[in-house]
């Protein structure tokens, strides 16, 4: 499993701001422990899959 990069308060604040969330420094600090765990989950889903393994994100052309 890929090792997730660490994240600091400034990076997290920037990521949140890009998503439209302008939080106070205290609020950002409150998210940091969860962000570290969350990075591990992101790394988990990004573990290598062969390119042809699963062409998800398809749709049913007949579905209305």
């Amino acid at each position: 499993m890929p090792v997730p990069p660490s994240i600091d308060e400034a990076e997290l604040a920037a990521i949140l701001k890009r998503a439209g969330l302008t939080l106070t420094p205290d609020q950002v600090r409150g998210l940091l422990p969860g962000a570290a765990i969350f990075q591990g989950l992101i790394a988990r889903v990004n573990a290598p899959l062969p390119r042809e393994a699963e062409p998800a994100v398809t749709f049913d052309v007949e579905q209305t």
């Binding site: 989950l41 889903v45 990004n46 899959l49």
Partner: protein, 462 residues
């Protein structure tokens, strides 16, 4: 009046030995006496309940009962829209929200003759809890009111266990039916994805949301599911297939069932408590003695299922709540806003990879179940923790036992396997192949009827 199951009450109502009006009054009296200690209800609809009950009683007297749910007292999780009746999602953001239409499932239960007692506590928008910074307090566990109910169908779990209702609706995006069922010692089924309409239910994550029933027994869940399930062309995920009789296999016992045990989920991936593991092992012994074939199976690590489910859940939730989060961040509970805000860390490729991996995991579980009827897991890691000791990030520190069946959409039921050292319930989770709910009910019912756990209610309900 002793606390009855739905199956028992239905027989008495059909035989004209139990008045639906008296049954409703008994439950309203229990709510009035006990709910101030449980916070299971956000709203009690006494007038509506008595009107429903009188209508049911009229049908009883005229021999025109609509079925086994006619006259049965129920309530709805407060993310189910109820026409003319406030539906808040337990949130400040919707505290004055009054829908104009019933959710499809609400309408179906009403048409079946149920008696609606009110609206039930939930974690905010079926996600953030337990929270103490909302307009209403969180529900408490009737086995010990200092302890957590789990969520998000927290009010339903507490109300069923305490005998305030005979059954209720829940919703399950990552375990929100099975978690409270486990910690409150009742039965709760997350049906197959697409079996029950979500139309009129406030969404959390479209690709993971399931509607389902919670009740004291698996048999009662089968009766309630019969009144909930069915195709709905307005729900794009709704399955268009014949509806089975969910009670058809009750009483057939466990003989011949082929059961796989995902032992690494609860022994190594997230090691469950001694009492939980002992309860599962005792249940497996029961199934073997009854003539079931039991063997261990191996799936991917539970965290693989969990990571896919959690990332999809928060990304879909952020898509829904983003506008409010940007403008009214502090109007949400800290539990919800902080968990959902983390979705800002996700990239488009992360979501694509999660979606690809989801189908890999679906295929893996389907392959593992090809020659099995049921797979066994834990429902929860242990007895309920204290409600004042549920850390904000506890939901993601360890993988949950319930998420795998949200990711795959396979049906899964939680039933009680006894009690732990603290006197609170422990549980087992039985999962099946898509649309095999009758077999799940068969296995769960065989176990429940052979064990003593269904004869014990919380002391406060006695």
């Amino acid at each position: 009046m002793s606390i009855l199951t739905i199956a028992e009450a239905a027989k008495l109502i059909a035989a004209k030995k139990l008045s639906p009006v008296e049954l409703a009054k008994t439950h309203l009296e229990r709510i009035g006496r006990l709910d101030s200690e449980l916070n299971a209800f956000l709203m009690v609809t006494e007038e509506r309940a008595l009107a429903d009950a009188k209508a049911a009683e009229a049908r009883q007297m005229s021999g025109s009962l609509r079925g086994k749910l006619d006259g049965i007292p129920i309530a709805h999780k407060d993310i189910y829209n109820t026409a003319g009746i406030r539906t808040t999602a337990h949130s400040k953001l919707l505290k004055d929200n009054v829908p104009t239409h019933d959710a499809r499932v609400v309408a179906k239960w009403a048409a079946a003759g149920t008696v609606m007692l009110g609206k039930l506590s939930t974690h905010e928008f079926a996600f953030g809890g337990p929270a103490f910074d909302l307009p209403w307090p969180p529900a408490r566990n009737p086995w010990n009111r200092e302890h957590f109910t789990a969520g998000s169908s927290s009010g339903t779990g507490a109300a069923v266990a305490a005998g305030l209702i005979m059954g209720g609706t829940g919703s399950d995006t990552g375990g929100s039916i099975r978690g409270p069922a486990a910690l409150c010692g009742i039965a709760g089924i997350k049906p197959t994805y697409g079996l029950c309409s979500r139309v009129g239910i406030l969404p959390l994550a479209y690709s993971l949301d399931h509607a389902g029933p919670m009740a004291w027994t698996a048999e009662d869940c089968a009766l309630l599911l019969q009144g909930m399930a069915g195709h709905d062309p307005e729900d794009p995920a709704s399955a268009d297939r014949p509806l089975p009789d969910f009670t058809a296999e009750l009483g057939k016992g466990a003989k011949g069932l082929r059961i796989g045990v995902v032992r690494h989920f609860f022994e190594t991936d997230n090691r469950a408590s001694d009492a939980t593991r002992a309860g599962i092992d005792a249940a497996l012994d029961f199934f073997r003695k009854e003539g079931a074939e039991v063997r261990d199976i191996i799936l991917s690590p539970m965290v693989d299922y969990f990571a896919v489910g959690w990332l999809l859940m928060v990304s879909e939730a952020f898509a829904l709540h983003g506008p409010w989060l940007r403008e009214r961040f502090m109007d949400y509970s800290e539990m919800l806003r902080d968990r959902v805000a983390l979705a800002a860390m996700l990239s488009g490729p992360d979501i694509v990879q999660a979606t690809r991996r989801r189908r890999v995991l679906c295929r893996e579980m389907a392959k593992a179940m090809a020659d099995l009827d049921v797979i066994v897991m834990a429902s929860a890691p242990a007895e309920a923790p204290r409600i004042d000791n549920v850390p904000k990030w506890s939901g993601i520190e360890k993988p949950s036992f319930t998420m795998p069946c949200n990711v795959t959409g396979f049906p899964a039921i939680s039933v009680c396997t006894g009690f732990g050292e603290g006197g609170l319930p422990v549980s087992i989770q039985l999962a099946g192949k898509p649309f095999t709910e009758p077999t799940l009910f068969r296995a769960a019912h065989a176990y429940e009827t052979a064990m003593p756990w269904r004869s014990k209610r919380p002391a406060m309900a006695a």
